[in-house]
């Protein structure tokens, strides 16, 4: 399975990848993008099976990326990993087609709860 981790922070991408491994998802291909625009392009080029994305990023935000993907016909499973988890954002994410929103700070249990059933 190929997972696209999108965050403008290299540190946070590293933490997300580390947490994926700690949660037991350690035998998947991980690819990375620095913002929504790069993620949008990589979904087309790399055909990931899952996108894990930050919300607040320069160039193109995570929610704009998700909306652009759905408008372009992509149904790639998409989940947010973001520092903001307000009810309004969760609703906005769900309405745009996200399958979960993990709020930072997180640990491997948070990842397992959100990803079990999504990652084979």
């Amino acid at each position: 399975m190929k997972i696209l981790v999108t965050d403008d922070s290299r540190v946070m991408r590293q933490i997300v990848i580390r947490t994926l491994r700690q949660a037991g998802y350690d035998d998947h291909d991980i690819i990375q993008a620095e913002n929504g625009r790069e993620a949008f392009e990589m979904v087309g080029a790399e055909k990931p099976d899952l996108v894990l994305s930050d919300w607040n990023m320069p160039e193109m935000t995570g929610i704009e990326c998700l909306e652009a993907l759905r408008a372009a016909g992509s149904q790639v499973p998409f989940g947010f990993v973001t520092s903001e988890g307000s009810p309004e954002m969760r609703e906005k994410a769900a309405n745009a087609g996200a399958i979960f929103l993990i709020a930072k700070p997180f640990n491997e249990d948070t990842f397992k709860d959100a990803l079990d059933g999504v990652i084979a």
């Binding site: 403008d8 290299r10 590293q14 933490i15 309004e88 700070p105």
Partner: protein, 166 residues
Amino acid sequence: MTLQEAQPITTLLDTRTVQSIADEVWPSLVGDGEAFVPVPVPPPGDVVSAWVDIIGPWTGSVVVTCAPATAEALTESVLMTRPPTVVDAEDVADALGELANVLGGNIKSVLPGESRLGLPQMGVAPPHGRLDDVRSLVGQWRGNFLTITVQGAAPAPHAERDEVPL
């Protein structure tokens, strides 16, 4: 000028809430067993800050301030680096910025109304506004000075009139 002045942060956010957010953020981001301890230690001569802005019914910044060496040690802890790997200035700005970002996102979520969070910035902390619009936790990490400050934005300077006196 709005009809209703925004409430200062001291009425919107108590110290215990900020500490409980830090208690969740430190082990997750900085590392297992790590903690922000709200016991002040003398401030260092030189400090760096990272912050995110919150823009909404309450507007201001969430600022993390510590010595440059503490910021570097925090980065090493966040990235779990081991010698001979060294962290560079970009890593330090990224790690301290993410710490401010995650603290800021969680603080934003307990404030009333809908707000927007800015992107992390690093440098000299922005000036704050009214003194009653500052909620500051002075403490330490691994014995080193570190503060978490939630501060209202400084008022915009009055626009200069460019009228020529008659």
